[in-house]
């Protein structure tokens, strides 16, 4: 009786094992890459909004301060999305007939809320407070990027936990004086670490152990 398996079967078997191993590794790599990809994090992704609102125009062009619209950024965890009334403060005077602004006018006319899609969306088990970050000298642009140059708003940072921890572990890399927080064009000085350490002390920013305790953000 002849052999059931030909001699080449040995090679096939070895190849299969190696291939299977390779496949698992490949799969792992794919998952890993995907996990940090902008497809998952939605980094740099422009979301379609009811009104194509341009931060570039309103901030760089018109020169509005962030807090004109995001009123609660300094005293609440939520920065605040402006009510229709805030839009209409100006747009009842200018661009009153622009078709682009029809949803805003309709909102006021019919007393129906505008519905925006959240751009910087943290998972629901993360509790982020704008109030404390702004107070401790974290600039808007540090997390949100140069919003003043975004014609359409997108998420500038990956918003992954590792990205948060980068700053929580060493805030001196990013802190800026409180009066520069809302300055979009602020450039970190050459001695940033030195300045950061000084501000950290001055503003009473807690030590790394406190800042990396789980319950600081998760509860």
């Amino acid at each position: 009786m002849s052999q059931i398996f030909p001699r080449s079967a040995n090679a096939t078997a070895r190849l299969t094992i190696a291939g299977a191993l390779g496949f698992v590794i490949l799969l792992g790599w794919v998952v890993w890459t995907l996990m940090f990809s902008s497809w998952v994090t939605k980094q740099n992704e422009v979301v379609e909004q009811p009104v194509p609102f341009s931060h570039k125009h309103h901030v760089s062009g018109v020169g509005l301060d962030c807090r004109y619209c995001h009123t609660s950024v300094e005293n609440s965890e939520f920065a605040g999305i402006p009510p229709t009334k805030t839009c209409m403060n100006c747009h009842s005077q200018i661009w009153t007939n622009a078709p682009m602004l029809e949803p805003v006018r309709a909102s006021l006319r019919d007393n129906k809320n505008l519905t925006w899609i959240r751009v910087n969306d943290l998972p629901d088990f993360v509790y982020f407070s704008h109030e404390i970050h702004v107070h401790q000298g974290v600039g808007c642009a540090t997390c949100h990027g140069r919003v003043d140059q975004m014609a359409l708003t997108y998420q500038a940072a990956p918003l992954l936990m590792g990205w948060c921890l980068d700053c929580h572990r060493a805030p001196e890399k990013y802190l800026r004086p409180r009066d520069q927080v809302f300055n979009m064009a602020y450039e970190a000085p050459a001695n940033q670490i030195e300045l950061g350490l000084r501000l950290k002390k001055e503003y009473g920013v807690a030590d790394v152990r406190h800042m990396t305790s789980c319950s600081i953000c998760h509860r």
Binding site: S107, L114, S129, H210
Partner: protein, 1006 residues
Amino acid sequence: MTLDDIRTKLNGLEGRAYWRSLEELSGTPDFQQYLHQEFPANAAEFTDPAGRRQFLKLMGASLALAGVSACTRQPPEKLVPYVTQPEEIIPGRPLFYATSMPIGGVGMPLLAENHMGRPTKLEGNPEHPASLGATDVLAQASVLNLYDPDRSRNILNLGNEATWPTLTAALQTALAPLRSAGGAGFRILTEPISSPTVIDQMETLMTASPQVKWHQWDPVYGTVQGGAPDAQAIYHLDKADVVVSLDADFLGFGPTAIRNTKDFSSRRRMGTPTDALNRLYVVEPSLTLTGANADHRLTIKARDVYGFATALASALGVAGVPAAPAVSDDAGRWIPVLVDDLRAHHGRAVVVAGDHQPAAVHALARAINDAIGGTGTTVVYAAPVVATPRDGIASLRELVTDMNAGAVQLLLIVGTNPVFTAPADLDFLTALKKVPLRIHLGQQDDETGDECQWHVPEAHYLESWGDVRAFDGTVSLIQPLIEPLYGGHSFLEVLASINGVGGQSTQDLVKGYWTKAFNGQTKTKWTLQDREGRPFPTVDAFWRQALYDGFLASTSLLTGAVPTPAAPATPLSLTPPPAMTGLEIIFQPDPYILDGRNANNGWLQETPKPLSKVTWDAIAYVSPRTAERFGVMSFQRSGNGDLPLVEIQYRGRKAKMAIWPLPGTADDVVVVHFGYGRTRAGRVGTKVGQNLFTLRTSAAPWFDGGVELHETGEKYLIVSTQNHFAMEGRAPVRVVEAEEFAKNAKAVAELGAERPGPEVSLYKPFEYNGHKWGMAIDLNACTGCNACITACVAENNISVVGKDQVERTREMHWIRIDTYYEGDPSKPDGVYHQPVPCQQCEDAPCEVVCPVGATVHSDEGLNDMVYNRCVGTRYCSNNCPYKVRRFNFLLYSDFTTPELMAQRNPDVTIRSRGVMEKCTYCVQRINHARIDSKVQNRPIKDGEIKTACQQVCPADAIVFGDLNDPASRVVALKAQERNYGLLEETGTRPRTSYLAKVRNRNPALS
């Protein structure tokens, strides 16, 4: 095993022996086995082969896909800003409004937390005399009633949707012919009401149509047996050194319990071992929370309380007391001791008569209080605040008679559910059907709503304006927090429409009344002053201040000279209660479901009832000896299990109920609880438990003799948490006698097992540079009221799991109250409560065993639980000596019912399936306070952070604070001689510690 065997076993033990349940005492092997399996129902073998194969397939697939789930893209989230933002709202920050919850016609003052227009949590109003910042279980859970998805949503006419205009038109059409006859044939049946605005509207109606009759019915709060007392007693327990309760559960039940507990516990807290304590004697037929807190407790039948009161009064030399009937030997021993103690504390003692006792007992208590100098100091008698006839039984009987006689043409039923709750002998339903037009206003389309042609959804108190008086008379405003979710209407609206002033908002009606009151144009003349006793400059200033405060301070009955109504001329010639024979039946409302009105509230269903710790059901208590006599004693159960179902026969009526042998119940007494067995309650409460209203009669709504028990041989599953999470074989509670403690300050420490010094630890010492949170729980103050459990549920979005899951030891409550008994099972010598949240150990056994670092030490000493890391190994729970960790075996959180989502606290994560959770010391509150303090550039003040359980506690038994702040209250408490750590011999170094219970027993009685 019999009771005698247990007794022998107990007598053989040395020192103080505490036990949790009769099963534990019996110590059967089955029960031991039950205790050792933390999650008993989980360990079952997979016997279904098809199911097993399916399980393995799914398991394989889920393992393979486990990693992929991490890369799910988050679904887009919407942001919906206001069109016009209200001025005072800062998005992301809650607002607090003062309001009040009416219950039994009496107001419970509240501060309601409002997140972007959604009320999420209720706290007590700290400035209101009836609350002082605390609330109770019912108030905590009432926010869930607001969002109840089964509340009725439409005005119904014969089952068809109708509108408010058609209703008011139909009402006016029906009223027109009645009006010409002075309103004869028009009846209104309400709950007890103390609202000045409603009373004013009712008076307007009854002035225009004098024949209109107002009836009231409340099976819990508005029902008396043997006549209503002439005046209501308001106690000042903080001034009483000796308190005697005559079947009064003044610490455990009713809207006055909060203030009573505040005052009482202020006399139980100790600074040093020699501090004086008050002393509480309780005479009662069934173990209540008040009885559990007694220094001395005497069990006698409810019918014998009158005899006891008579004997006590005559021994004290009260004139005109009828001849005292013979009392039992025990009672005979008590009376001279009580007389001595009451006389020794003249002017600093008080006797409290129970709400369910007849007027004769109240008259005796008042006469005793007069004799011992209590009246005017420790107790004040005032006119009752509830306006309608307070004898609900008589009022309902009159209504039923008239309905049967065909004298009622139009009946408006408000809030109450008499078809379900009326005494069985009145046969309310048959009478009701003889009324041509019946209109029901209620939050649920309940049993009564079903029998009426019109049903109108009633607005919740958080949805409409109103006013109510607190037990001390303080007018408290009801301020809505939200527009009616389901289009509800309030009684005030209906009444205004009847009075021809419809179309006004409830706000206008309430404000209108108080504007008139301010101008002195109302029938009742109110003194309206600010809290400093100054008159308000304008009506606007008055109204704004009243809304801000939530109450009108100057309207309290206790301010200024108290108008004590004169005692009846011949108080003690009141008819003594009729003699009763045979086995006694005592009716009690379910402590949380009440008369069934809260049946659809999952939080209340799952809150373990005091003492028995039964959830989701009503039971009948008997004493262990009585149970043995009727052959229904079962010690053989292992934990939860099937209890014997007995048939209760009473006056020709029968009902079946499961029997629960409760230590501390008087012999030959059956205590039944009504409120269960609703047929139209909703998804949670329909067809849960047995209906006991079928036994309750108008002649004896609270207690009577002549009941029979018959074995049925049937079994019924009752689920109790009393044996769950037991720390068996150790001494978790420490109790010392006041006398002993005064002599030996180390008495508490000596009760602990020997243990290694705190320095001996394998763990690296942890340094705390900033805060170091800690908690102290005073067992001497705690009354075991369960308010902390419900407050924790509301604050931390804790899921309801249902009876089936509670049976499997899967209840999710982060804090539990362990109850321990001491002494003979048929006559326990002491009952002790111990709230057990996570102890936040310094050397936490849970932290080291977690393979994924989901539970870790924070730099402020908390054992953080990170839900998004947890993979559900449950090693932590296995390793926890306190058994305070809770696992989401199934998807308990409701992610689908939108109404319930609106209730959730946005500051706390909703946990999903497969995740461990536990007490966090309310870390969301800590974080908020920390951020506020940093932004305001100041340290966190001691007492600024209150955990939910601490804030609600009417006994102020829980104190939270910074252990690194030497001036904090918690440090002071932990320095006390009474302080000890739970199971500290295990070396976990718990951060929550307990202050031992000190009992102030009278040497003459021990």
